[in-house]
């Protein structure tokens, strides 16, 4: 079974719009993290939310976590063309290895 599955797989929006990406997972977790990856580049850590937290904000990012549904969402408000990238959720359990999802490819059109 997949741990950390994002949807949609691809999302295309206009600059200024909000982008929402979802992530589901199957087992209990310690933390859930969101990462961003520009094409062919490294992974940039965006935000970490702990299993006992429900919502977290960082600048234009808002992350929610629903442990009862085993799901998380990442909202990017007022998107910019520079937000175009792949976004991955990654979960860890007591043993801190990250399990990544397939990612959502976000395209923000100017």
């Amino acid at each position: 079974s997949q741990q950390g599955e994002e949807d949609p797989q691809a999302l295309s929006i206009q600059e200024g719009e909000n982008a929402t990406m979802n992530c589901s997972y199957k087992t209990s977790i310690n933390n859930l993290q969101w990462y961003r990856q520009n094409s062919g580049r490294g992974l940039v850590h965006l935000i970490l939310i702990r299993s006992n937290e429900r919502e977290k904000h960082s600048g234009r990012l808002r992350v929610t976590l629903d442990t009862s549904k085993k799901s998380s969402s990442l909202l990017i408000t007022a998107s910019r063309a520079a937000d175009t990238a792949s976004y991955f959720c990654a979960t860890d359990r007591k043993i801190p290895r990250l399990t990544f999802g397939e990612g959502t490819q976000l395209t923000v059109n100017p």
């Binding site: 062919g40 490294g42 992974l43 991955f88 860890d92 801190p96």
Partner: protein, 113 residues
């Protein structure tokens, strides 16, 4: 801001050759990881390293792979006899404590021909 660095950025090697990928984690971090990402696929965990020993490894991390922390700063991944299917981006990551933000390096693109 401190960052994880990796060298080389791109390595081309012939099948059967040995490669060593190098990483310098953030200096006060205690847990170190290697992940890989085959082109177009998701990032996969390879191995974690703590207190100078492997703490966990995935099924991908077979006898062809090894890791070392030869000194206080470097963390290396060695692939003894590369195969075509080892072609991927290899990412090093480190984290300060047992659970927290993992900081990733920029990756090494390994191409096996």
């Amino acid at each position: 801001e401190p960052e994880v660095t990796q060298t080389p950025s791109h390595q081309v090697t012939q099948m059967g050759q040995e490669v060593i990928l190098r990483c310098v984690p953030i200096s006060n971090h205690l847990y170190f990881y290697w992940y890989r990402q085959i082109l177009g696929q998701k990032v996969e965990f390879l191995v974690s390293f703590y207190n100078n020993e492997i703490s966990e490894k995935s099924e991908i991390f077979d006898d062809q792979f090894s890791v070392e922390r030869p000194d206080g700063s470097n963390f290396t991944l060695k692939i003894r006899s590369t195969k075509l299917e080892d072609s991927a981006m290899y990412f090093c990551a480190s984290v300060q404590g047992a659970s927290g933000e993992q900081y990733f390096g920029p990756g090494t693109r390994l191409t096996v021909t």
